[in-house]
């Protein structure tokens, strides 16, 4: 009997699904089944997946922009004006690129928070946390290099001050800033270096790091699992990812893309006046994701704001998976009820302390007999460090907090204070960088 050739069709049963996934170029890196519990949206909020979607949108829109943009001071601004005014959908593509880039920073930040609070950095996921940190850094660097490309007043001066910040690094400051800028001032070399980094180096790094990041997730057995509900001892129910996971991912991706389109249609990406090296705008602000560091620079001596504090924070984040924890349990949000309470308390402390610090700095700028490195450097930093250590000891002694909960409290302190600094830097600094209502 002759066998009828089968018409192509979507997989109909689990066996067909597994064969399809295993044999498909795009899908073969995905698991064939996942625990049903992981499907819950609030388990991950889809943040990692949405970040990937945004990266793909950025690649696509960026490639299109590459056909039009001219990376030279003489042509950059005009090529963007031409893109927006003369090329069909040029303005839209640029807007899509701009909004995807900014929302991506927010999204990977939230993704990092989710991974942290669900303890997705405990073994065997420790190294993947580091890859994630690298990806976050790459995301900020890609945003930063892209910021210069329009070569308008906003771009020129934001990058001027950000690269000038590097000069405050001791010993290598001048070399560092001149290497990044390609010279003593922002010029045609800087633009070409930033353009190459933005359109070639960082996308390449992203492709490599993202692949590594996803492979490590598969190697660890998938997304970090919430611990099973009390009393339930039955075996985990596994479901095929077709259609359960894929359909959910598709829906979230489409909603995200629709949202980006909405933003791109309604709000234009900014384009100020053509860059004028002779005229500095008042105020000249760093991009919003660096506004926290700029705010820190206004409060602390440059050595601390540019080098020591960022190094300390980076060290904390890098060694986070490797601290000596009392428990290596992963998956449970906030670790425990007590941990959740401590997180809330830490949030309140951070809000009060950061705002207090900003106001204290305003009030005390008149007393300048003490050299800046002491009054705006050692004194506030030592005060904060002492406060942090005392807080940790208090949590342990009075509330019997475990190391996990203390580290969590510290993380909340760090994140919340940086958010407050960022909000202040973006909205509450006006002319001359004086504090002012927006």
């Amino acid at each position: 009997m002759k066998r009828e050739p089968e018409l192509p069709h979507l997989p109909r049963d689990n066996q067909e699904r597994e064969r399809f996934i295993a044999g498909n170029l795009i899908f073969h890196f995905r698991p064939r089944t996942i625990p049903k519990r992981v499907l819950r949206f609030t388990h991950t909020w889809g943040l990692g997946g949405m970040s990937l979607v945004l990266v793909l949108v950025l690649f696509l829109s960026g490639i299109m922009l590459k056909f039009v943009y001219e990376p030279f001071p003489g042509g950059a601004y005009d090529s963007i004006v031409a893109l927006q005014d003369e090329i069909l959908f040029g303005r839209l593509i640029r807007n899509i690129h701009h909004w995807s880039a900014n929302i991506l920073v927010l999204m990977v930040f939230l993704h990092m928070l989710r991974v942290f609070f669900s303890k997705g950095f405990q073994p065997p996921r420790q190294f993947n946390w580091l890859i994630g940190l690298l990806l976050f850094t790459g995301c900020l660097a890609a945003n930063f290099t892209g910021y210069l490309l329009p070569w308008d007043q906003l771009a020129y001066w934001a990058i001027t001050i950000c690269t000038a910040m590097l000069e405050y690094v001791p010993l290598i400051g001048n070399w560092l800033s001149e290497t990044v800028r390609g010279g003593a001032e922002i010029g045609s070399t800087s633009l070409l270096v930033f353009y190459t980094l933005h359109t070639a180096i960082f996308p390449g790094c992203f492709i490599v790091l993202l692949s590594f990041h996803f492979w490590r997730i598969r190697k660890a057995g998938g997304i970090v699992l919430p611990p099973p509900d009390e009393g339930k001892t039955e075996t985990e129910l596994e479901v095929s990812i077709i259609p359960n996971l894929l359909l959910r991912e598709l829906v979230v991706a489409l909603i995200l893309v629709a949202f980006i389109m909405l933003l791109a249609v309604i709000f234009d990406a900014p384009l100020g006046d053509r860059a004028n090296p002779g005229l500095s705008p008042n105020p000249a602000k760093a991009p919003w994701y660096f506004a926290g560091i700029q705010e820190l620079l206004l409060l602390l001596h440059p050595l601390f704001a540019i080098l020591l504090v960022p190094l300390f924070v980076a060290g904390f984040l890098v060694f986070l998976p490797y601290f000596k924890y009392d428990s290596e349990e992963s998956g449970k949000r906030f670790h425990s009820r007590r941990g959740r309470k401590m997180a809330v308390v830490s949030l309140l402390i951070a809000v009060v302390a950061t705002i207090g610090g900003i106001l204290a700095n305003e009030a005390l700028t008149q007393a300048t007999t003490v050299p800046g490195i002491i009054s705006n450097g050692f004194i506030p930093v030592i005060l904060v460090l002492v406060g942090i250590v005392v807080y940790g000891k208090l949590l342990k002694k009075r509330f019997g907090a475990s190391n996990n909960e203390i580290v969590q409290a510290y993380f909340v302190l760090l994140v919340v204070s940086y958010v407050i600094l960022t909000l202040t830097g973006v909205w509450l600094r006006g002319e001359g960088m004086a504090l002012a209502w927006p």
Partner: protein, 161 residues
């Protein structure tokens, strides 16, 4: 004895082979690291700042003009060369860089208050370039001024004084 000799040789031979293999591995690893270091060095050389036609700050002598053109106590802005030429009350000249020493913004000369104000973070400098108001960490940089045949020339490539 022969058998023990053979045994000894058999025992010695694998040990020899392993150490030779590991020695060669070490050499390869070392050479590989040297190659990577070389590549990084060349990569960084590509990034090194270089002289370009439009890169004025890499040193150019700007001819400011005849001495008589500049009144006493006046400050003239030169966009080419990025400096202010100040004629002092004693007739001498001072060429001040227009780059604020805080984060690089362009300072603005205010003739009424006779000071340089930076719009970015409100640093202020007096007419000689000294810091009046922080957050600037030091005074404005100076360029070398020479007067040849009554013509004022400013060397913007001179190391800031």
């Amino acid at each position: 004895m022969e058998s023990t000799d053979k045994n000894q040789k058999a025992a010695a031979a694998p040990a020899d082979k392993m150490s030779r293999a590991s020695f060669l591995t070490k050499i390869w690893t070392g050479l590989g690291l040297v190659a990577i270091a070389e590549f990084c060095w060349v990569f960084l050389t590509f990034l090194k700042p270089r002289e370009t036609r439009t890169n004025l700050s890499s040193g150019e002598v700007v001819v400011a003009g005849p001495v008589e053109e500049f009144a006493l106590n006046s400050v003239t802005a030169f966009s080419r060369g990025r400096f202010y030429l100040s004629r002092l009350e004693n007739g001498g000249f001072q060429a001040l860089s227009r780059k604020c020493t805080h984060l690089g913004c362009t300072v603005v000369w205010n003739a009424e208050t006779r000071r340089f104000d930076c719009p970015c973070h409100s640093s202020a400098f007096d007419s000689r370039g000294n810091v009046i108001s922080p957050p600037a960490p030091r005074g404005l940089d100076c360029f070398l001024v020479t007067i040849e045949n009554q013509i004022v020339k400013v060397d913007t490539g001179s190391s800031p004084a």
